[in-house]
Symmetry: C3
């Protein structure tokens, strides 16, 4: 049983309150009970702080005066919350060893501390590192390499020649290494360009559920260390994503897109192929990126939401915009003359 004192020590924060108080989990300010810890990272939730019944609240020192219960004072409460969350993980732990129902190629190398779940398939000459967890129903293709401490949740598919660094997490139904969408127009229809590259993920990469990362046409599609990708994201062949870049759900990157380090792409963004985005760029939700970006900053496209009737009236005018501008220019000219 964790105590408040032990938690404060673990997080390296200052506790004001009873160090012997038992803590069983975490909850929101509004719902936390007397053995749960909560956190306040955004002033917007101050009203909830005043009524919380949590055992303790992680917050900034300058908010402690307003906290009706014990406080855990942290200079970055959100980060302290992230670290506290690791102490209360509810997911069951996988046991080391190969489940008897798994199908493992004779020449695959599986580290004895790795866990291969029920009905998983491990292909020829794959190498599974120490402490790796391969969930149920996963498919690890031939010659894949999975670095120490990585986890594939159930039903992930890796095609052949996919390499994951250390401490990567891949969520269910993600597909790494499917063929890039490469076809040449031939006389009788499309002719397939066989995709001869692979996929390489650095260390600490996280890939969301139902996300697809295609193999490269000739070289690998690459996600560098610390890249985090949400659900239902499409990363096409030959993309290269720089360190610590974050990509939110439903975003699609066309082929050969290069994205720098420390970028954040919000949800539903689309990036056309063969463009390059420099480091430290933020793209707002549903933006259509049709050209390279060479300056750090925030970029957007789209139109604001409104009542559908109003929208229709304005949208019709969008299709007249060039004419509107020309009419305006004509008026200006005639006015001056």
């Amino acid at each position: 049983m964790l105590t408040l004192g032990a938690l404060a020590e673990e997080l390296g924060v200052t506790l004001r309150g009873d160090p012997g108080q038992a803590i069983t989990g975490m909850a929101t300010l509004a719902s936390a009970g007397p053995q749960q810890v909560s956190f306040l990272a955004n002033r917007r939730y101050l009203p909830q702080l005043r009524h919380t019944r949590a055992a303790a609240v992680i917050l900034r020192p300058d908010m402690a005066a307003e906290c009706p219960v014990a406080s855990l004072e942290a200079s970055d409460p959100y980060l302290a919350f992230a670290r506290a969350s690791a102490l209360f993980i509810t997911a069951p732990r996988a046991e080391s060893g190969v489940h008897p129902s798994a199908v493992v190629a004779a020449d695959a190398e599986v580290h004895p501390t790795a866990s291969i779940g029920p009905l998983a398939v491990i292909g020829a000459r794959a190498r599974i590192g120490a402490g790796v967890v391969i969930g149920a129903h996963c498919h690890v293709g031939a010659r894949c390499v999975i670095g120490e401490g990585s986890q594939l949740h159930p039903a992930v598919v890796l095609y052949h020649d996919v390499k994951l660094g250390k401490r990567c997490t891949v969520h269910s139904q993600a597909v790494l290494g499917a063929d890039g969408f490469g076809f040449a127009p031939g006389r009788g229809g499309w002719e397939k360009i066989h995709q001869l590259g692979g996929v390489t993920l650095g260390d600490g990469v996280e890939v969301g559920a139902c996300t697809t990362i295609d193999r490269g046409a000739l070289e690998d599609t690459v996600l560098e260390d610390g890249v985090i990708v949400d659900n239902l994201v499409q990363i096409a062949h030959n993309c290269h994503i720089g360190k610590n870049t974050a990509i939110a759900g439903c975003t699609g990157l066309a082929g050969s897109t290069i994205i720098g380090a420390n970028c954040t792409l919000a949800g539903g963004v689309g990036v056309v192929g063969h463009v390059e985005i420099c480091d430290n760029v933020h793209i707002t939700g549903m933006t259509m990126v049709t050209r390279s970006i060479t300056e750090p900053g925030s970029y957007s496209s789209g139109t604001p939401m409104s009542d559908t009737r109003d929208w229709k009236r304005n949208a019709v005018r969008f299709a007249q915009l060039d004419r509107i501008q020309k009419r305006l220019a004509a008026l200006e000219k005639s006015h001056k003359s």
Copy 2:
């Protein structure tokens, strides 16, 4: 063998025609043969009614005069069609019992009338209710609860602590309970916020293929009774979707979005995080919802499609809109003066 008379009785509608006519299935007005039933719910298809060779047509009483074959008169033909469709289901029925190739935890509770398909995995302490059908290759995580009469089609993944009500349907490759996309920026990169909540679905919820519903950070992500969700939809952590709301394909909801009851979101909609949409709201396709909606009604964003050359001319002007407005204001001012 179903007869037209039995069908009319089953649907509670008035038959004009031979009650002894054998019926083997349903088809469109244009393709139905003499033992198939069709329906007309939209006047647009009246020309097809005149030439139909169906055994009978479900339609409104005021259209019966134009029907060249037997008619099944219903005040709501579309609803009668929905009910008739249930009589001609072509999907094979699952047999009760656990397939010998399934891997079921010793302490999972599986109701004797439930069906566990080939190569499914049922985790520790999961509870599978009466008449539940778990398809082939499904993964039901630890402590999941699946209510009476629910069905998981093949290859659905439920992580741990996912709860489904009664009569839910989840389509293939859907993922319920993957980690929400929660990370705190740390000194060396993103630090993961472990997602301690679960996912709760009410009764009669339908979830489409390849749709992802993430577990909550601290509390459950919730879909209330009767919510229907299409394919490839992303529902992020901590979302709460009200009763009977319908969400069409390729839509994405960012974290902590609250949507009321009886809403309809068309395809490709994106909703930014932490907003609230009231009951009875309709969002048209591909709309970008960037703020809360407090009034029922229909909302839209986007621009109309046109020929690409015209579009380019107008799109360029979009980026000058503020300047155009200012030029117009200046002209107005100088005109008045």
Copy 3:
């Protein structure tokens, strides 16, 4: 071991260089080593040609003079590259026969030259043709028919009554034949319209990873010969896609959409239901198609990306566009009078 001479012969192109040179694979101009072949299809990469260390480069005859190494002269170098790629496939070959861990219905017909991977499930009365490859963890529903030479990569789900022609390729986690999103509003909520049709794919169709193609309500959803579909695409019930049409990632087609032959839909496109697009139409990325298209050509919608502050200023004006137009019209009128 392939030689340059044999490669030239295989491709039917003219070699300038040593026919005895051994070739082990393909690579980009920049990274190819002395036993690898590269290609140049786009003048943009001419600078790389000058420094390439490839064994040989596939290029147009008029570029051969600038090639510092051996050249393979082709009138269509991109097509020649596609054909060359087939000679260097890195994917492991599947062996004929049924893996002992697969679960195959007693009355399914599996051709002796077909390959059924580990832990695959083949349903009742399914028919698997000559040379077909069914990957690990695939689910082939009852009465499905898979034509000669087709391949399902791991973890594809076909519901019942799905028909694939010859030489089709379906990538992992794709779902063919899930229920179309059909519901009638009833008194107590949505009532399901059971989807009685199936899915039919012609010959040579390719379907991307995590793509969903729903079964038709009454008739089949149809993709004609040579259609190619990228990842994370939603094709709703009753759609009909014409021959050789290409659909890029993250695109969604609503129900009953009809698309002609030889169309190309870029990524992130959305097409509203019940519209018809004629042959030879190109739709640019993220376009919202809300009406039928009856003339071949290129179509677009959306707004250009800009710096977020500029975008906000202009986006606000979008919501005033109709008023701006009216103000302009008033000025014009008063100016003339």
